[in-house]
C-alpha cells in the first residue's frame, strides 16, 4: 500500500478493536467443544477486520465519496435507464411490516405483502398487455432464462422436442444468447438491415421447424422501433416459434404500445430500470416475467392469487416450470417498483415515455452535427452515435468516455451495440431537465472540437479523477482477487 492508496478495511484493522456489542449470554453456558467432534471446530479464525464503529463509518463514507451514482450527476448510460430513484421508495421498503417479515409466515399474517404482490402482478399485466405475471425472477437475465424455460416447457408439452434454436438479433444484449444457452438452446443470429432493424429476409431464412423462439427488444438496442413487428410475429408464429420480449427498453413505450398487443408471448421487465428500483452498484434488481394465456400454465410457482378477498400462494400448478428462485422474488425491489407505479398511475407512466423519448430525440438532433449518427430516423428512449469520425483523428470512443469523466458526467454505454462502430449509446431518461441535457450536449460538442484541435487532452483523459486509467491487462493476466495480510 502506497501513501496515495485508499486503505482497505483490513488495513485499518487493529487487534482488539470491536464495533459490535453482542447481547450478553443469558442461558447456562455449556462446553460447546464437547458437543462437536474436534474435526468440525474451526481452528483459525477468519481474518475479518477488527475496527471501531467510527472506523467503519469513515471507511465506507470514504468509499462512497469515491463512487458515482445518479444522485451525483447525469448518468446517460444507454440501455440501463439510469433515472432518478425516488426517496419514498426507500422509506417504504424499510417499514418493519415489509422488511422484517419472513417468507414462511402463514399467509394470513402477511396479507399486506401478498396484496402488494398481487396488485403489482395486475399492474404489470396491464402495462405489458400480458395475461399472467410471475414476480419470482431476480433480474433481467434471470427473467430471460425463466421465459425461455417456459417456452421450452410449452414446446415439450406439445411433443415438440426438436425446437432447439433461439434466434437473436445481432444488436441484442449479450444476456440474450447467454440465456438461450443456459436454457439448453442454441443461439442463432439474425442480421439487421441498413435501417438498423431486423432484416426480414434474413429472419425468413433462419426461422424454421427448429425455431423455439425469437428474442427481441422493441425498441431495439439502437433505440429504434421495429416497425415490422407484426410481420416478424407472423413469420415466427407461422413457423411454430414463440416471440420473446426483452423488457430492457420498456421505458420508451409505456402507454403507447404493449408487447402483448405486438404479438409477444413472453415478456420480462427490469423493475430496476423502468420502474426505479435502484441499481445498487450492480444489484439487486428484479425481473418479473409476463406471459400470454397460452403460456400461463408454465409460470414459475407459486403465483399470488386472490380468493374472496384473501391473498394466497397458488402451488397447485402441474405444468409450472417449478421454481427459479427460493421464496417469491426480490420482494424489496418489487415493493419499490409498486410504490413508483402508484405514484405515477397510467397517466404518469405515459408521460414518462413521452419525455424519455423527447429528451433522447432532442439530444440526438443536437449531437448529430458533431458525431456520426448511423441511423437517422426518430429514436425512442435512446440513440446510438458512432465515434468513427473522431477515431480517424486518433480519438477513440473510449477516450471520449474518459474525457466526460473530467466534466463529472457518467459516460454513455460504449462499444455496444456491436453492429455500430465505436458506438456511444446515450439514454438520458425522462427525469433529467433540459438544463442538464444542454450542459451535457455542450460538453460533448466541446470534446468533439478537442478531438479535432487538441486530441491529446482527450486521449490522455481523465485528468481530474482520483485514479487514472487502470491497468486492466495485468488485472486479468495476474488476477489478484482478494487481500492477504502481509
Amino acid at each position: 500500500m502506497s501513501n496515495q492508496d485508499f486503505p482497505l478495511i483490513f488495513e485499518r484493522s487493529k487487534e482488539g478493536r470491536v464495533s459490535f456489542n453482542l447481547p450478553e449470554i443469558d442461558v447456562p453456558e455449556i462446553d460447546l467443544e464437547a458437543e462437536l467432534t474436534e474435526t468440525y471446530v474451526r481452528q483459525e479464525a477468519p481474518e475479518l477486520p477488527e475496527v471501531s464503529e467510527l472506523d467503519i463509518i469513515r471507511h465506507y463514507t470514504g468509499l462512497s465519496n469515491r463512487n458515482y451514482g445518479v444522485d451525483s450527476g447525469f448518468y446517460p448510460l444507454g440501455s440501463c435507464t439510469m433515472k432518478y430513484n425516488p426517496k419514498i421508495n426507500e422509506d417504504v421498503a424499510r417499514l418493519d411490516g415489509f422488511s422484517h417479515i419472513h417468507p414462511y409466515q402463514d399467509p394470513k399474517t402477511v396479507q399486506g405483502a401478498l396484496e402488494m404482490m398481487f396488485d403489482l402482478q395486475e399492474a404489470l399485466k396491464e402495462i405489458t398487455g400480458m395475461a399472467g405475471v410471475s414476480l419470482q425472477s431476480a433480474a433481467g437475465a434471470h427473467g430471460e432464462w425463466t421465459g425461455l424455460m417456459m417456452i421450452r416447457a410449452f414446446h415439450e408439452a406439445n411433443g415438440d422436442f426438436h425446437r432447439t434454436k433461439v434466434i437473436v438479433p445481432d444488436s441484442a444484449h449479450g444476456t440474450n444468447p447467454a440465456s438461450a444457452t443456459v436454457a439448453g438452446f442454441e443461439a442463432v443470429t439474425v442480421k439487421s438491415n441498413e435501417n438498423g432493424l431486423v432484416d426480414l429476409e434474413d429472419l425468413r431464412r433462419v426461422v424454421g421447424e427448429d425455431t423455439a423462439a425469437l428474442m427481441l427488444t422493441n425498441p431495439n438496442t439502437l433505440g429504434l422501433f421495429e416497425t415490422e413487428i407484426l410481420e416478424m410475429a407472423e413469420i415466427v408464429h407461422n413457423a411454430g416459434g414463440k416471440l420473446y420480449y426483452d423488457g430492457a427498453n420498456l421505458n420508451a413505450i409505456m402507454g403507447y404500445a404493449r408487447p402483448g398487443d405486438m404479438g409477444f408471448d413472453v415478456v420480462h421487465l427490469n423493475l430496476h430500470k423502468t420502474f426505479t428500483g435502484p441499481h445498487g452498484g450492480g444489484g439487486p434488481g428484479s425481473g418479473p416475467v409476463g406471459v400470454s394465456a397460452e403460456l400461463e400454465p408454465y409460470l414459475p410457482k407459486p403465483v399470488i392469487v386472490k380468493e374472496n378477498d384473501f391473498y394466497n400462494f397458488e402451488y397447485d400448478r402441474p405444468q409450472s416450470i417449478g421454481r427459479v428462485k427460493p421464496y417469491y422474488g426480490n420482494f424489496g425491489i418489487n415493493l419499490r417498483a409498486y410504490t413508483y407505479i402508484r405514484t405515477m398511475g397510467g397517466e404518469g407512466l405515459k408521460k414518462v415515455s413521452e419525455y424519455a423519448v423527447l429528451n433522447a430525440n432532442y439530444m440526438m438532433r443536437k449531437l448529430e452535427k458533431a458525431y456520426d449518427l448511423p441511423y437517422t430516423q426518430h429514436c425512442k428512449h435512446e440513440f446510438v452515435l458512432s465515434g468513427r469520425r473522431q477515431k480517424k483523428l486518433g480519438v477513440r470512443t473510449l477516450d471520449i468516455a474518459k474525457r466526460l469523466l473530467d466534466f463529472d458526467y457518467h459516460p454513455p454505454t460504449i462499444y455496444f451495440p456491436l453492429n455500430v462502430e465505436e458506438a456511444l449509446m446515450i439514454e438520458p431518461t425522462e427525469t433529467e431537465s433540459k438544463e442538464t441535457l444542454d450542459g451535457f450536449i455542450d460538453t460533448m460538442l466541446q470534446i468533439a472540437e478537442e478531438a479535432e484541435n487538441n486530441p491529446e487532452i482527450v486521449q490522455e483523459a481523465p485528468h481530474h479523477t482520483i485514479v487514472k486509467r487502470m491497468d486492466e491487462t495485468t488485472a486479468a493476466r495476474k488476477p489478484i482477487l482478494r487481500y492477504y495480510k502481509s
Binding site: P49, Y60, A138, L224, G283, N330, R342, G345, A401, H410
Partner: protein
C-alpha cells in the same frame, strides 16, 4: 396532474420540439404501427400524492405481522439476526445505491473496493481462495454451482442430498433442465445425509455431490467422511452450501477439499424482507477461477502506480462471450453484498466466533428445555442453531395458537417432507432471550398437554 419526477415544462417541451423539427411528441411515436398502438389509457390505479401514498402503504405494511413485534423461532434458510445500525447508514449513501455496475473504474473505486473486500471476507470464511462479487441468493448460487460442475466434468449425473434446502432442490431441478442433468436425491436419515446411499450412488458418471453444512435440519454434516467417500471418484466435484455465520465456529468447507462453496449472506446485515433480495455468495478454487459465474473484481494499479480495482476476467461473461459465456448472470447483489461487508466488519474477527457461539448456546438451551418438557427432539448434539421437535399436533395448528401468544413458530417440515408430519424446525438466534425461549417452550407444552 403534475409529477414530481418529471422536470419538463411546457416551454422546455416547445423548444425541444422546435429543435427536433416536429409539432408534437406524438410524431416521435409515429413509427409505432397503427395496429399496435394503445388506443385507451393504461387502466391503473389513480396516481397518489406522496403523503397519501405513504399513508396507504404504511397501512398495508401494518397488516403484516413482523418479526420485530412478534417473537420468531422461524428460520429454515432465512434468519432473524441483529443488524447493526451502521449497516443501513452505509447502504443508504446514494453514491452506492444509485450507481450502476462499476464499468468506469475511475469513478467507481468505492464500489469496486467494497466488492474486493467482500470477496476477501467470503474467501476467509469459506476457506476457498476465490470468491465472486455475489449472486442473486444462496439457492440460485447453488444451482449455478451444479451447472458449472456438469460443464466442467462433462458429466450429467448429480447427487443431491435431501437434507439441503428444499427450495434449493427445486431451483437445482429447474436450472438442471437446461443442460439436461440427471439429479439423484440422497435420502436423509435422522436428519443427515445417508452416507451409505451416497457411496452406492457415486460412480464415474457423477459430476458432483451437493451437501448443505449445516444442513436444512440444522445438523452439521460430516464433511470429512463425505470427503473420504468422494475420494473414490477423483473427478467428482464436492459442492457445499453453507450458512456463513456458522463458519465462525465450524471448520470451513475449504478444509475438506470442497470445490465450490456457496450460500447466502442474509445472516449478515440483510433483513428477511419476505425472502428477497438476499445475497448469494460463490467461492471456489483457483483451478475454476476462469469458469466462475458473475462479476469478479481484481486489484491493479493506475497509470501513476496508485492501487485501484477493476472488473476483471470478463472474458467469461455474457457481454463478451455471449452464447459461450459461463453463465447468463449480468447483475450481482452489490448493495446487499455491501450490507453484509459492513455487518461482517462490524462483527469482526472475534465477534464472529462469539456470535456463532451465542447461536449455538441458545439453541442448545432451547433444545434442553424441549427435552425437559417431554418433547421428542430429533437432533444429535452436532447442530448449529436449528433443531427438529416432534409435536403431538400438526405444526400449523400449533403455530396458530402460538401466534395468539405473540410468537411466530417454527417451520412446518411437512411442507416439503410428507414423512415429517408434525415436525417443527426451530431456529434460535443470538437475539432470542432466555425468557422468550422459556415462554415459547411453555406455550408449546400447553398445546402438548
Amino acid at each position: 396532474m403534475d409529477f414530481r419526477y418529471l422536470p419538463m415544462t411546457e416551454q422546455d417541451k416547445q423548444e425541444m420540439l422546435d429543435t427536433i423539427g416536429v409539432n408534437s411528441t406524438d410524431e416521435l411515436f409515429s413509427d409505432i404501427p397503427e395496429k399496435v398502438r394503445l388506443k385507451q389509457p393504461l387502466s391503473l390505479k389513480q396516481p397518489k400524492s406522496e403523503h397519501d401514498l405513504k399513508k396507504e402503504l404504511v397501512q398495508m405494511a401494518n397488516k403484516n405481522y413482523n418479526v420485530k413485534e412478534y417473537t420468531s423461532f422461524l428460520g429454515a434458510g432465512v434468519y432473524d439476526h441483529f443488524i447493526p445500525s451502521v449497516v443501513d447508514h452505509v447502504i443508504s449513501r446514494s453514491e452506492f445505491y444509485t450507481a450502476y455496475t462499476p464499468y468506469q473504474p475511475e469513478i467507481s473505486q468505492g464500489e469496486l473496493q467494497a466488492i474486493f473486500e467482500f470477496q476477501t471476507m467470503i474467501s476467509e470464511l469459506t476457506g476457498m481462495p476465490v470468491a465472486n462479487s455475489s449472486m442473486y441468493d444462496g439457492g440460485t448460487s447453488l444451482a449455478e454451482a451444479v451447472n458449472l460442475s456438469a460443464g466442467h466434468t462433462r458429466k450429467k449425473k448429480v447427487l443431491v442430498s435431501k437434507a439441503i434446502h428444499p427450495e434449493s432442490q427445486a431451483v437445482i431441478e429447474t436450472y438442471g433442465r437446461g443442460p439436461n442433468l440427471e439429479i439423484i436425491y440422497i435420502d436423509h436419515v435422522n436428519g443427515r445425509t445417508d452416507l451409505e446411499q451416497l457411496a452406492s450412488e457415486l460412480d464415474e458418471d457423477t459430476a458432483s455431490v451437493v451437501i448443505q453444512y449445516p444442513n436444512f435440519f440444522g445438523q452439521i454434516e460430516p464433511l470429512a467422511e463425505i470427503r473420504e467417500i468422494l475420494d473414490q471418484q477423483a473427478k467428482t466435484m464436492f459442492i457445499v452450501s453453507s450458512n456463513p455465520l456458522s463458519l465462525g465456529y465450524l471448520t470451513p468447507p475449504g478444509k475438506f477439499g470442497a470445490d465450490i462453496v456457496v450460500g447466502d449472506t442474509q445472516v449478515f446485515g440483510i433483513p428477511a424482507q419476505f425472502g428477497g433480495p438476499h445475497c448469494g455468495y460463490f467461492a471456489t478454487t483457483e483451478k475454476l477461477m476462469r469458469k466462475i459465474p458473475g462479476r469478479l473484481v481484481g486489484q491493479t494499479t493506475d497509470e501513476n502506480g496508485i492501487r485501484g480495482f477493476v472488473l476483471t476476467l470478463q472474458a467469461r461473461e455474457q457481454h463478451i462471450r455471449r452464447d459461450k459465456a459461463t453463465s447468463n448472470i449480468c447483475s450481482n447483489q452489490a448493495l446487499n453484498a455491501l450490507a453484509s461487508s459492513v455487518a461482517m466488519s462490524s462483527i469482526g474477527k472475534h465477534g464472529l466466533k462469539k456470535m456463532a457461539e451465542l447461536n449455538m448456546q441458545k439453541a442448545r438451551y432451547a433444545k434442553q428445555k424441549f427435552v425437559e418438557a417431554g418433547f421428542e427432539v430429533i437432533s444429535n448434539s452436532s447442530f448449529f442453531n436449528e433443531f427438529v421437535v416432534k409435536l403431538p399436533v400438526p405444526v400449523k395448528a400449533a403455530n396458530d395458537k402460538l401466534l395468539e401468544k405473540g410468537f411466530i413458530g417454527g417451520y412446518d417440515l411437512a411442507t416439503y417432507y410428507p414423512e415429517l408430519e408434525g415436525h417443527m424446525l426451530v431456529a434460535v438466534t443470538e437475539i432470542r432471550t432466555k425468557e422468550e425461549i422459556d415462554a415459547f417452550v411453555k406455550e408449546l407444552g400447553d398445546i402438548h398437554e
